[in-house]
Symmetry: C2
């Protein structure tokens, strides 16, 4: 009723101005998500979401013509839980009448550069499910709304299209791109967001908002603004109705000239606005009244309260043809020297912790299903996956994993993830006790990355369980700190394993396996020698050479395909700009701006090598580039990839220079300015130096303007060879020289970059002198045609890594030491994205085809799957969800009727 | 019902904490009153009263236990006029239920130092009448509430007591006074506010609020504050209920230790707060809930929503004896070097314009009554007195006539007064046309103070009407600019008047009189000669001598009483402090702080005289002290007072020194540190250098700490002689030396004084180089016993001065050239304070006894008045008001039954 009544207020022959009242509520940024909700620490930033929702609900009741959209379900959920039944009834009615409309509707408005699609889908699910459970169909968002993220990923658009959104609106895009689009009326378009899915499966109407997400200048009536209100008492000195009306009409006409139809949208709101909604609505009511009153004098401008979906409905009626967009909106620049490409790497430890937490969450979800109800309440107490689900959902926010929040807020995100994991640990322990029959307490040794695990270090005998959350076997190396020098290792069958093999053999799918380690006697120390006397690293699949003079990597040979490349790798730092004559822009949490295009080498002398260690299963070269940069180059027996474990930090800044640390690979591959990076860890996009597919680029920042986000992989190639780097966190990547690929690993800066965070990005670390970050890059050299066959499983193996747990002593004889939820591994092309308890009756299963169209001869093929073949009958794997909730690349088909 | 329900929530055995939600809405300060109402120019200060009232009304509806008090009727009236009937009904109900309570209730919260009682009564009447008309008895404020004015006048307390208020609360008093009162539990007292009225007529319970008018530290939940909200989700990182409750209880107990009963009040609000009332009430609801919940654990603290009148009711029940206070609360200091004594003089031109406007308004009011309905709509169009009433009421605000507002706001006050006068001019013209029968247009020559009047300057023949608003005859000198050198002057009877007599002879009471001036022939120029060759000024009553060497006043003789004093007068300036080692406090709009106790003489050489002019009716000495200070010493034939017309400005500041200009009289009167100043132009208080009647003063500012406000007069005396200065505006006064009296005339400063106005007090004037101010002091020398016989009528004559109007040409023969509304002058002791149209049926008449008890043998006596004797039968003077609206000093009695 109301919604159609509103639509009647558009006038087909006039310019219709859709006022969209909205608030943009960051799920953490300058304050924590809790502080934002309650309005704590307002001395940092005045913002209290509880009051926003209180106030908007009160104002919407005053006039059925009023509209409001709400976006972040993380906040709405929390607010809803504190409301009385009568308020809930009022809100439900407002939603049903279309006065309060949810848009986007995820738990947060996710970052698009540094998020992985798996977690994006999870966070959208969390938000949308709440809305669906609470309001049913009326609560369903029709429009995706990413007004603030700093660049837009094609994969996000693809996900939104597949989720059934009718359109997508955002605020930020490159200023050159925007200029062109305004001139050519291409502010609105159809985004064809997948190269694999058949159109229109991933087609999404996409609109660029005219003023970012702010109101037009002079029309902000929030308590945080200082624009004059409508002063409509003619006796007043400051009477301003005539002036306001004429300015508004003139702004409307100017805006309409940039768009194709006689409908335009004005975002009436901004960050944490509407804490006091009355000034906004009171003045908008008057504005609408006085502007529309001019129609009696011949004005052709018609203003109305509206929502993005109502606006979109009008655009649909206009029956326009929209331009097509098939690349993405990275990188984002809001000025010639203002490229928002620093945050691709900002806070690398948080980025890794977020990614690791996703792996933990998926394991937790799976074990909740596999362990049944006892996993939530069992011998180790009450556990849950909800805490981690929410922590992960919050971490997807565009000022969370992006690294663009204040330090205390970054600490809060990490703490939430840690709490999530603590809750999951109980669940996992309960579940494994159900599955194994052993109630011996488990420890999880979360500090193995720095070789700390009190249990393994202090125990003469312990057992280790490995849970593999992938739906196929993986090989995974395990490094354990122990005090003894030699251990006997037995597998789940009690057979002795070579104690020199620190790698657990191929693990079954969705499965756990226990091994026992017993310390029998001292053994030999690791073999380390000066590299100058050492051979290259070499096992059956890969050979790695080093320059004996510099100690740097010098070549890589794939022994299977017999292809070699010259390949050097080194570490450098860009000197962060502090502003210069061209621009005052500094490097900061958001912005990357080196003060020179030539980075400094980290190593001041040319000899970087400490030692080389090897045994029958692993060969390592340990490189020390400086007191604060080192690397272990590691090749496992049986591996097709080279592992580079880098350690960077504390980045010294005593010289007064902010540093942006990269590693750069320089090869003889003829990449000719092209390189490739993934979008949210899924499809891969082609990049080209100093080039944008959709406009004629004027390149003004030769380094920062060529950086792109990677979430899981990047590569360069020529006709013969492809050098692929697979990463375990989101980072920034570029290829500045022919044959080179550089990845930014860490950043420590001394200036804020004037985008609001108000702090230099200088993570203090444990000792306050700068954060040390450790990470891994996996390197493959393959023919281009078969590269995906390696990097797809390699990347998924990093995303969902085995979970280790430890128990003191030997397993009890009654324990079940090995189990698998699957009867057989899924086909190579099929990835188990989600297995999670939905409610007490059902679980959520998401499968996806993990190969892009055309990237693999072997696997870019349709797959048909019979779930019954793969699942144990005893497992609870029965999915309830409609097909639309099964997110997929193009080539996976299955029988929906299977799910009952 | 609700009010008694609330009272039930106090607990007799506990400490009851009365939370008083309130907003303090300045009727102009950093922004104009319009800007404050609408929320315009929020970049200056975030404040919009329309939203405050919107929001509070909405929040009060949510819980009948909630309370709010509202103070400034200027804002409430305007808001009310914009409300729908349904909102008005809701508000009426909230008022009836005691949820919304009006306190104070005047149009504004008046300044106490620089206001005249006549205008204070008017502005209170305007506000209270609106509340009474709108809400009846329920809308009647019970409590006076002056939380912000910078010092408190005894006359204000007296007025409040006579108006029937039950009590008075304020926030600001001298810090030494407050310290002592806290120690002795004398924060609450009975103020005996008149030395003339028999107790308890002017007794008023008076309470000093504990935190000025702010909430206790940490408990401000306005949008303008940053205190943490009640974060009561125990799962939160920032959960703070336990901390808040214990802090609140501890603050409450500490506060209770300063007061006598088990009830304390906490002001929950501040400047322009409650624009978004929800955060306030939501958190106070929780605070009350959680603090009172501790009663179950033995806490003896009980919190409740309350109002000042409810609090006062509890105090009355406590049956306490309160200490007595009989002086006033001037001067106010909030630190050893922070005396708020500058604003007594700040913006002297605005202070004069406000005072003059009062005279114009009283004339306008009287002529509205005398001219009947045609005065409001007559031959010259529509006129009204309401515009001037409101402008004058607004100008009483404690940042208006006080001179402590920003420059643009001062300009706005002046503009409002000018508009008020423009509306009155039409009314006066209409009324005079009714009374005179002449519809010839009138002009009012408002610039006679600078000798500008186009009509008199350009006309060969014109007539002048003089309206005297006093209820007795006065002599009044008229100076007109003319182009000719000689004029014939005829009176209303057509008799020729001596053209050398520029003084209109004794005018009848409440009366108009026309005279005609015709230019016949050139006459002699004024006689001016060098003073060194001139005699002293001398007419029959007074002789004035000058020092032939310095040109300064040297002596004054009352020829009637044959008493002489040595008397010099000179002009000086204090060098405004810019802060020093002792304190960073500067001189500014509020604060007076000279950097030395010795002021600089304005005149750099000793010869200050220009010339002396005299004729048969006036003798003048024209003194030039510097390019920016001059004075005319003027003695009229037949006058008992000496007129000193000073002109100061533009005050030069190119030397980098802010200047506070005084004139100082030094006499051989043995004043012994005592001097006297009036309170709001009514009763006179004794002052004593470096002394306060109620506490043992530590004097830390030997000059500024001895300044007091005068509104109409100050004097020094000894056993024989009293030297009285009558002023025509409010100023600061002191007596630093034996026999001296100094008056601050003008101030021009280069620094802000950190009290919020954010501007140096440097009025630009017409040419931007500094404001020129002209004013008059009237000086009398009398025996102390008869001083009041002179200064009382002299002061009233300056307050209500004759209104001149001019018509081109000769009066028509049919015109009535003279009229009087009174059959006879009122007795000398009786002052006609108000004669004003109340509604179409009735008028408001206020008479007062204008002598204090004991100050005059002749006139400090009871007077009985029969109004019928004094009023013409044809006049509309019939009063309707109950006796309580007739404000009076002690000795006027009249028969109330006379008013029907």
């Amino acid at each position: 009723g109301i919604r159609s009544a509103l639509n009647k207020t558009t006038k087909p022959s006039m310019l219709n101005v859709h006022l969209v009242p909205h608030t943009h509520d960051d799920v953490g940024w300058l304050k924590t998500v809790d502080q934002y909700f309650y309005g704590g620490r307002n001395y940092i930033q005045h913002a209290g979401v509880q009051y926003i929702l209180d106030s908007v609900v009160a104002e919407l009741q005053k006039d059925p013509a009023r509209r409001f959209i709400y976006v972040e379900t993380a906040f709405f959920f929390r607010w809803w839980s504190q409301q009385s039944r009568s308020t809930r009834n009022i809100v439900t009615q407002l939603v049903q009448e279309g006065c309060l409309e949810f848009v986007n509707g995820g738990w947060c408005m996710s970052d698009e550069a540094s998020t992985h699609y798996s977690s994006v889908i999870d966070q959208m699910t969390l938000g949308l499910r709440f809305l669906n459970d609470t309001f049913g169909e009326c609560g369903r968002p029709r429009v995706a709304w990413h007004i603030d993220p700093f660049g837009h990923a094609r994969e996000h658009a693809s996900i939104f299209a597949q989720m059934g959104y009718d359109g997508f609106f955002f605020g930020r895009l490159d200023y050159q791109d925007k200029d062109r689009r305004m001139k050519t009326k291409e502010m609105e378009m159809v985004w064809r967001a997948s190269a694999s899915l058949n159109p229109p499966t991933a087609d999404l109407f996409t609109g660029v908002l005219p003023n970012g997400y702010n109101p037009p200048p002079g029309f902000c009536w929030d308590q945080s603004c200082s624009d004059d209100p409508v002063q409509d008492d003619p006796a007043l000195e400051d009477y301003n109705v005539d002036d306001l009306v004429s300015r508004f009409i003139s702004i409307s006409k100017a805006q309409a000239a940039l768009y194709k139809t006689n409908h335009i949208v004005m975002t009436m709101g901004s960050d944490f606005q509407y804490e006091n909604a009355n000034p906004w609505y009171k003045n908008m009511d008057k504005l609408i009244h006085y502007v529309n009153a001019q129609q009696a004098n011949g004005s052709q401008v018609n203003v109305l309260y509206s929502t993005p979906s109502c606006y979109l409905q009008e655009l649909n009626l206009a029956n326009q043809t929209w331009p097509l967009k098939s690349d993405d909106f990275f990188p984002y620049a809001d000025g010639p020297h203002d490229f928002w490409t620093g945050y691709f790497t900002s806070r690398p430890a948080l980025k890794r912790y977020e990614r690791l937490s996703n792996s933990l969450l998926q394991t937790c979800n799976q074990l909740e299903v596999l362990g049944g109800p006892k996993s939530r309440s069992g011998p180790f107490g009450k556990g849950d996956s909800d805490t981690m689900k929410r922590a992960m959902a919050v971490a997807q926010h565009h000022d969370a994993v992006s690294g663009t929040e204040k330090q205390h807020v970054a600490d809060d995100y990490a703490k939430r993830l840690a709490e999530g994991w603590a809750h999951c640990q109980v669940l996992v322990s309960n579940s494994l006790s159900v599955l194994s029959g052993s109630e011996v307490p488990r420890v999880f040794c979360e500090n193995l990355n720095i070789s700390v695990c009190p249990l393994t270090e202090g125990s003469k005998m312990f057992s280790m369980n490995v849970y593999n959350p992938l739906a196929r076997p993986v090989s995974w190396s395990v490094h354990l700190p122990v005090n003894g020098t030699s251990y006997n290792v037995t597998d789940s069958s009690g057979n002795v394993v070579d104690s020199q093999r620190p790698r657990v053999p191929s693990a079954p799918t969705l499965s756990g396996r226990a091994s026992a380690l017993r310390r029998p006697s001292p053994a030999a120390p690791p073999l380390c020698a000066d590299l100058h006397a050492a051979s290259p690293l070499c096992f059956q699949y890969l050979k790695v050479t080093f320059d004996p003079n510099t100690g740097l990597l010098s070549g890589l040979t794939n022994l299977e395909t017999q292809q070699s490349v010259q390949l050097t790798q080194n570490f450098y730092w860009y000197n962060a700009s502090v502003g210069n004559a061209e621009s005052s822009q500094t490097s900061g949490a958001y912005i990357f701006r080196p003060n020179s295009s030539t980075p400094c080498a980290v190593s001041k002398n040319s000899n970087t090598v400490l030692c080389v260690c090897q045994n029958s299963v692993v060969q390592e070269v340990r490189q020390q580039f400086s007191p604060w940069v080192s690397q272990v180059v590691r090749l496992y027996e049986g591996s097709r990839e080279l592992e580079l474990e880098w350690t960077v930090g504390p980045v010294p800044v005593e010289d007064g220079f902010g540093k942006e640390v990269i590693t750069r690979f320089d090869s003889n591959i003829s990449s000719a300015g092209y390189f490739y990076s993934d979008s949210n860890g899924r499809e891969v996009l082609e990049r080209r130096k100093d080039y944008r597919p959709t406009w004629d680029l004027t390149q003004t920042e030769p380094i920062a303007g060529n950086y792109y986000p990677i979430n899981s992989r990047a590569f360069i190639k020529d006709g013969k060879a492809q050098l692929t780097v697979v990463t375990e966190r989101s980072q920034g990547v570029s290829s500045i020289y022919n044959g080179s690929l550089e990845i930014m690993l860490h950043r420590r800066l001394l200036r804020d970059d004037y985008r609001g965070v108000g702090e230099p990005l200088s993570e203090p670390g444990e000792f306050g002198n700068g954060l040390v970050v450790r990470g891994r890059l996996l390197l493959t050299l393959t023919p281009p045609e078969t590269a995906a066959d390696s990097h797809r499983p390699l990347a998924q193996g990093l995303v969902l890594q085995p979970l280790l747990s430890f128990q003191e002593g030997a397993p009890k004889p009654t324990s079940k030491l090995e189990f698998s939820a699957l009867q057989a591994a899924l086909p190579p092309a099929v990835h188990l994205l989600t297995l999670s308890q939905w409610d007490s009756e059902s679980v959520l299963l998401r499968l996806e085809h993990q190969y892009e169209s055309g990237e693999s001869k072997a696997f870019s093929q349709p797959v048909t799957l019979n779930l019954q073949v793969h699942t144990h009958t005893h497992s609870a794997v029965t999915a309830l969800l409609p097909c639309c909730l099964l997110y997929r690349l193009s080539l996976l088909c299955f029988d929906c009727s299977f799910f009952s």
